[in-house]
């Protein structure tokens, strides 16, 4: 068996078992998925009623419907939650079981993300297509080529958000406040990634900061691509992908650093 084949077989078997576990808890998974819809829907309701017949910051009521539908899907497909499990595993010592096996613990987390996101995509994308048949505002104004770019942007954003979340989780090697720090980060992310409102509604300096930091690239960029906002701006599209790739590389390097140093501090509690 070649190295690569063996590697994918590992993912295959982990996928199967994680999928089985998720299915065993499918109602919890559904509640969890739907729970994440609340915030974008509330934001949507607020902006639709504020914009009334006119438009705010370049978005009409119907633009808001499309924007927040896209936010809802992109956010759900890119958000990582590994910090909670990782924090608990590290503090309680259950991380040891994964550390003892000759397969890096990060693969277990990556696999978990793939499993849940596959499940979410299988539910959300058909639902969207169905709803779009009845609500013209939800129809996506882009061609298949752009859809391909959107998928790439979502994949890159998913990786960025995963690596960020994983690093926050690794902070548990040093501190027992890893999840609190992550909550703070998520709060900032909510505003600067475009989840609460399009970035064009913020003061320029805020929007600029969000475009330099990884925030814009994680949600607003794929959403802008998907809603056709970047149709006439090929340059912004390339800057977007370059930004995603650059941040991913940087974050991967810092992940490596944090991992190596954190491991030395692992207490392997229990037993």
């Amino acid at each position: 068996m070649s190295g690569a084949a063996a590697f994918w077989r590992k993912y295959g078997v982990l996928f199967k078992s994680d999928w089985a576990i998720m299915m065993a808890y499918r109602s919890e998974t559904l509640i969890w998925m739907v729970g994440a819809f609340v915030q974008p829907l509330v934001s949507l309701a607020v902006w639709v009623s504020l914009s009334g017949e006119g438009s705010i910051a370049g978005y009409t009521a119907s633009d808001y419907v499309l924007y927040f539908t896209a936010v809802l899907v992109v956010d759900r497909l890119t958000r990582a939650w590994d910090v909670y499990e990782l924090d608990r595993d590290i503090r309680e010592g259950t991380f040891s079981a994964k550390l003892l096996r000759p397969f890096h613990p990060i693969h277990w987390s990556i696999n978990g993300n793939i499993v849940y996101k596959t499940f979410f995509a299988m539910l959300m994308i058909p639902s969207w297509l169905l709803l779009a048949m009845f609500f013209p505002a939800m129809r996506i104004p882009v061609d298949m080529g752009t859809i391909g770019l959107v998928i790439l942007a979502i994949a890159l954003s998913s990786a960025i958000r995963f690596v960020i979340g994983y690093q926050f989780g690794l902070l548990a090697f040093w501190s027992n406040r890893a999840t609190a720090m992550y909550a703070l980060y998520e709060g900032i992310h909510m505003f600067l990634s475009g989840r609460i409102a399009p970035l064009s509604m913020f003061p320029d300096w805020v929007a600029d900061a969000a475009r330099v930091l990884p925030f814009y690239f994680t949600v607003a960029f794929p959403v802008d691509l998907l809603t056709g906002r970047l149709a006439d701006e090929p340059e912004t599209v390339w800057i977007g992908f370059a930004g995603q790739a650059g941040w991913l590389l940087l974050l991967a390097l810092s992940l490596r650093f944090i991992w190596r140093n954190g491991l030395k501090r692992y207490g392997a509690a229990g037993g």
């Binding site: 078992s17 040891s96 392997a268 037993g271």
Partner: protein, 334 residues
């Protein structure tokens, strides 16, 4: 196979003060206390040996095992296990060792143990044919057929321990660390696991380090024991010599044929260099230094109307008890 030199692990423990103000202050200024859980220990274990690792609660056994498997980074000292430095976490190392903790599960709780085994098959890259052969071997040895397809959370402690052992040994490690594998198990189950560990060691020449608070495990499996107390190694040698080292006394039990006055009995025992532990006619129990025990029994046989006489070593439990308290006394004197 295992080489340990000057191994030390110091835990830095955050000291929590009670009270609100103190907890606020600790946000900015934390106080730490240092605990030397393992304190400069040395030992070597050759290939294929089963060694018992004994010590009272909190002595540092589990910490040592975590150091040897690379979970913990040593504060100082050298460790070599199967030619590897454990904390480097190389996959080649992980494929050769295993750690079983009676207190902690490595199985995935929501799915049957058989599925964890399948995950191990891929992760450890076990060829399909060997996998099947090994599962058959384990199923037969440990009588698993009824339990491996139940979700792990539904298994009893003993059933789960059997599956833990299989998950840990499926990749056929040649270096195995067993941390209280028989804890909480009934006598038959302990016996079954012991037999299994013994045959695993014999069949695969595995090197095994085993901790247990049950002396039956240790005396059944180990020729050699390491005793650790308060992070320091206080004994390394044959289990039989442990008794010599910590319990210099032997016990003689006699049955007397006629009721003899207590003072007479005591005088006879004292003349032979021993001490009366209990005298309750017709039974007499005497304790004496092991090197004089032959002379003492000869003397008792001539001076008293003896019907029956047996000489015994003290139980391993009581010897271990002595070893632990002597180690602790040695500690406080320093």
């Amino acid at each position: 196979m295992i080489h340990v030199e000057g191994l030390t692990k110091i835990y830095r423990v955050h000291v929590r003060q009670p009270g609100f103000v103190a907890s606020l202050r600790s946000l900015f200024h934390r106080e730490y206390r240092e605990v030397a859980a393992v304190d400069g220990i040395n030992f070597d274990i050759p290939e294929g040996q089963i060694v018992g690792f004994l010590g009272p609660n909190g002595a540092g056994k589990t910490t040592t095992m975590k150091l040897l498997t690379g979970l913990l980074h040593p504060t100082s000292g050298r460790i070599e296990v199967g030619g590897f430095v454990p904390f480097r976490q190389q996959n080649a190392f992980k494929k050769r060792v295993s750690l079983v903790m009676g207190q902690k599960s490595q199985l995935i709780w929501d799915i049957p143990a058989s599925e964890t085994f399948l995950i191990h098959k891929e992760i450890y890259e076990i060829p399909a044919a060997s996998f099947k052969e090994r599962i058959d071997y384990f199923t037969e040895m440990l009588d698993l057929s009824l339990i491996i397809d139940k979700p792990v959370r539904q298994l009893s402690l003993g059933e789960r321990m059997k599956c833990e052992l299989v998950a840990a040994l499926l990749h056929r490690p040649d270096i195995v660390f067993l941390d209280e594998p028989t804890i909480g198990l009934d006598v038959n189950m302990q016996e079954a696991l012991r037999r299994f560990i013994q045959s695993y060691n014999r069949d695969y020449k595995a090197t095994i380090l085993l901790t247990s608070h049950y002396m039956a495990d240790v005396s059944a499996l180990c020729e050699r024991v390491l005793v650790i107390n308060d992070g320091k190694l206080i004994y390394d040698g044959a289990i039989s010599k442990l008794i010599d080292r910590f319990s210099p006394m032997k016990r003689i039990t006699l049955v007397l044929g006629a009721k003899i006055d207590t003072s007479v009995v005591e005088a006879a025992v004292r003349n032979g260099g021993g001490r009366v532990v209990a005298y309750d006619y017709p039974q007499l129990e005497v304790e004496g230094p092991r090197e004089e025990v032959t002379g003492l029994s000869a003397k008792l046989l001539t001076e008293l109307p003896v019907i029956d006489l047996t000489i015994e070593d003290p139980s391993l439990e009581s010897v271990i008890g002595l070893a632990y308290s002597e180690g602790a006394a040695g500690e406080s004197r320093r």
